[in-house]
């Protein structure tokens, strides 16, 4: 049982163990994913409104956004935000007389890049969900004299969310897995921490295997969470199937 003991010493919580570092990194993975996902929800909502707009140009812009962000590798989007953001900050620094490289904060890069990509997917989810909302319910809201904002907040948003949760669950899994790409900007999330550990102990196999297991635990727990949320939002509805 020597290999297992040495493995447990490596990723355990003892003096030479990397356990706490890996757990902290896993928390960072969850943190950047949640921030990216929520940013995506925000942008995605705007894009959905654009898709449902009466104006052809606005609809076309929204269409371009979802097509490009879903058709381009996410790694390129991360490069765009990381290097583009750094160049922007550099020129901003130049205006104040600072000559040098200003790196884009890695967490912000991750949040923005994950947000921009997931917004494209979430917009499609929201649009599909909005289509499923019965016309009559929205007409009823208008008929009782609801203004656009209360109508959205009290009628449209809850109904859309009910239909959107399964799709949003998929998008969340996508964001969670894509957060591993943020490691290229140097953010110490789960994959980056595993790289650091692998480099300093020369035992990459154990570290990456542990990372895989931790990712699986996170995706498994979040799928349970989404199933619970779904059960909550469909309370009081009658199912035909």
């Amino acid at each position: 049982m020597a290999p297992i003991d040495s493995y447990l010493a490596l990723v355990g919580f003892g003096q030479t163990g990397w356990g706490w570092l890996l757990l902290t990194a896993a928390a960072m993975t969850i943190g950047v994913s949640v921030c990216g996902f929520l940013t995506g929800t925000l942008i995605g909502t705007v894009v959905t409104f654009m898709q449902l707009s009466r104006h052809l140009t606005i609809r076309w812009l929204a269409d371009c956004y979802t097509t490009v962000l879903r058709g381009v590798p996410d790694l390129l989007v991360i490069y765009l935000f990381y290097f583009g953001g750094s160049a922007f900050l550099g020129s901003l620094g130049g205006m104040f007389g600072y000559q040098g490289f200003i790196g884009m904060p890695a967490f912000l890069t991750g949040t923005l890049a994950l947000g921009a990509v997931s917004a494209a997917y979430q917009a499609e989810v929201f649009r599909g969900a909005y289509r499923s909302v019965a016309r009559g319910e929205i007409e009823a809201a208008i008929a009782v004299g609801m203004r656009p904002w209360p109508k959205f907040r009290r009628i449209v948003a809850p109904l859309v969310l009910r239909y959107a949760i399964p799709g949003l669950g998929n998008t969340w899994q996508l964001v969670l897995k894509e957060s591993a790409l943020i490691s290229v900007t140097g953010l110490v999330e789960l994959l980056r921490q595993s790289q650091i550990g692998a480099g300093s102990t020369r035992r990459p196999f154990e570290f990456y295997l542990t990372a895989v297991v931790l990712y699986l635990v996170i995706t498994w727990l979040s799928s349970i969470l989404f199933r619970r949320m779904e059960a909550r939002t469909i309370q009081g509805t009658r199912r035909a199937l």
Partner: protein, 232 residues
């Protein structure tokens, strides 16, 4: 926006295009073959087959592709001597083959679920009709089950192919200089992220546009019965 610079970028990135396509085609073909075997095991393998395939799908869909790639490329490098004894070190030494292996195993997990859905969608009547004509075994599978299953699975399968084309970009992280790898290098050298993003993005969008048209053509070709119904 500097058009001259973008043209130069375009020419540089084009040199990475063959590698991107090669990665995508190799892993889609190998992944589909593996996925077909997995989905057959899931459908016909009984309790054990279902458990094994469900575990495989859970692991490869639940963890990031980049980690899988690192595990194969860097992780297996730890067992260099063992792999040398097995005579497969030449395979695992090459980042290209490690990337192909990771992409293949990953896409096989997604595709096997798609194919499983397709196989389960073949109706009992269709199989009975074929049996009544005296067809069985491989002939039944090849002539009846497979074409019908493919037709059911094609839209989802098309999505997976698109995702794979995008996923080849991750190979750049293990030192493969395909389109994204070259783009990343250019951006790091010139800091003109936006222009390079536009060019690289346009190349990917063009590939995906062509592939979706091809998939639409296959869909058209596979559904003569639907067309006939529409014409009459």
């Amino acid at each position: 926006m500097d058009l001259g610079f973008m043209w130069d970028t375009f020419l540089t990135l084009l040199t990475g295009l063959p590698l991107t396509l090669e990665l995508a085609v190799t892993s889609v073909v190998a992944g589909s073959a593996l996925a077909l075997a997995i989905s057959l095991l899931a459908v016909t393998g009984g309790e054990i087959g279902r458990t094994v395939t469900r575990g495989y799908v859970f692991v490869f869909r639940g963890s990031p592709l980049l980690v899988q790639m690192f595990l194969i490329y860097y992780g297996l490098g730890q067992f260099r001597h063992g792999l040398q004894d097995l005579g497969v070190w030449g395979f695992f030494r090459e980042p290209y083959w490690c990337a192909v292996l990771a992409l293949t195993l990953n896409t096989a997990a997604y595709c096997s679920e798609i194919f499983r859905g397709g196989l389960l969608a073949v109706s009992a009547q269709e199989i009975e009709a074929a049996r009544a004509c005296g067809m069985s075994g491989i002939l039944l599978f090849r002539r009846i089950i497979l074409p019908i299953a493919i037709r059911h699975a094609l839209p989802a399968y098309g999505n997976e192919i698109i995702l794979m084309i995008k996923a080849t970009a991750l190979a750049s992280v293990i030192t493969i200089m395909e389109v994204t790898g070259l783009a990343g290098k250019l951006i790091a050298d010139s800091f003109r992220a936006f222009e390079i993003f536009i060019v690289a993005g346009a190349i990917y969008l063009a590939i995906i546009f062509i592939v979706t048209r091809m998939l639409m053509a296959v869909d058209f070709w596979l559904s003569p019965h639907v067309r006939m119904r529409l014409q009459s």
